[in-house]
């Protein structure tokens, strides 16, 4: 019953190839961002994060079938990711915004 509600075009090897091409392009752009770091300046980090996120979502949605699969699975994985990301943000803030100067030995 769930399959019907989320019915999509049946993924075929052509889909996998298309995703692979996108992944490759994103990786190349990612490395290029790194190469042109000095030009991009503060934009480097957000651009890198966007490309990584795109790759991440492509693999999870297509190769791992979340796009075609039961929504419950998406929910489970998203909550795990969400809590991990939130704690990451909190830790980053604690250490890099509110952090105190370190004592050097």
């Amino acid at each position: 019953m769930h399959q019907q509600s989320t019915a999509h075009a049946q993924p075929s090897p052509a889909t996998w190839v298309r995703v692979l091409i996108l992944l490759t392009i994103a990786t190349v752009l990612e490395v290029l961002t790194y190469v042109f770091e000095s030009t991009l300046g503060v934009l480097t980090a957000p651009i890198l994060i966007v490309f990584a996120a795109i790759k991440f979502v492509l693999v999870v949605a297509y190769y791992m079938h979340l796009k075609f699969d039961n929504r419950i699975l998406t929910g489970i994985f998203t909550w795990g990711m969400l809590i991990a990301l939130s704690i990451f943000a909190a830790m980053a803030a604690i250490y890099h915004i509110y952090g105190q100067p370190l004592l050097t030995p």
Binding site: T24, T27, A52, Y63, N70, L73, A84, F88, Y95
Partner: protein, 200 residues
């Protein structure tokens, strides 16, 4: 033909959600593993830049080299999904071929990591040399361990396919393996971005 990697449940299994027990467990485990790698990553990130002595990241990291190995791992995600499609179509020859390809790509990635570690070691970066060494080796090392377990798991399934213990009837079981393999890949997407490409 089973659809989208076996929306059909294995014989004799009835579930409320229509998701097989194994698939549900694997996704739940992966959510849990997010927190595992999350913990490693946020410790790495908290210590970022707190390196009292060298070698520093920019002195040792070799981006072109690692870009290739990141691409190798991405490619293995593609080949394993091809193996899955082959199994769904009961194409055992194709399945074995793509699966072997995946195993070899995984092994290539691990070999690359081994070579990278050795190089860093010779440049003076060790587990104990500084905080970068400690956090870098432990984070990427745990990822490598995941890859290694994945390779063993795939190898076992590859061998089983020759003795008739892995057949198109077991597509759901194999699908769960591919989930694990892809997860290892997406973890590397994050590590590659955060550890290698992110400017210091």
């Amino acid at each position: 033909m089973s659809h989208a990697a076996g929306h059909t449940l294995p014989a004799g299994e009835h579930t409320v959600t229509g998701i097989s027990h194994n698939r549900l467990m694997m996704w739940t485990f992966l959510a849990s593993d997010c927190m595992f790698f999350g913990s490693l990553i946020w410790v790495y990130f908290a210590y970022r830049g707190r390196y009292f002595e060298g070698p520093y990241p920019h002195e040792v990291l070799d981006i072109p080299y690692t870009s290739v190995s990141a691409a190798v791992l991405l490619l293995s995600s593609f080949s394993i999904v091809m193996a899955l499609t082959a199994l769904e179509h009961a194409d055992m020859r194709g399945f074995r071929g793509w699966l072997l390809g995946t195993i070899l790509l995984g092994a290539l990635f691990l070999g690359g990591q081994y070579y990278e570690f050795i190089t860093f070691y010779h440049e003076g970066l060790t587990l104990t040399s500084n905080l970068f060494g400690t956090t870098f080796f432990v984070l990427t090392g745990f990822h490598g361990t995941h890859v290694f377990i994945g390779i063993v798991w795939l190898l076992v399934q590859w061998l089983l396919s020759f003795v008739g213990k892995l057949t198109p009837a077991h597509v759901e079981r194999f699908f769960v393996t591919t989930l694990y393999w892809h997860f290892v890949d997406i973890v590397w997407i994050i590590i590659f971005m955060l550890v290698y490409l992110m400017p210091y």
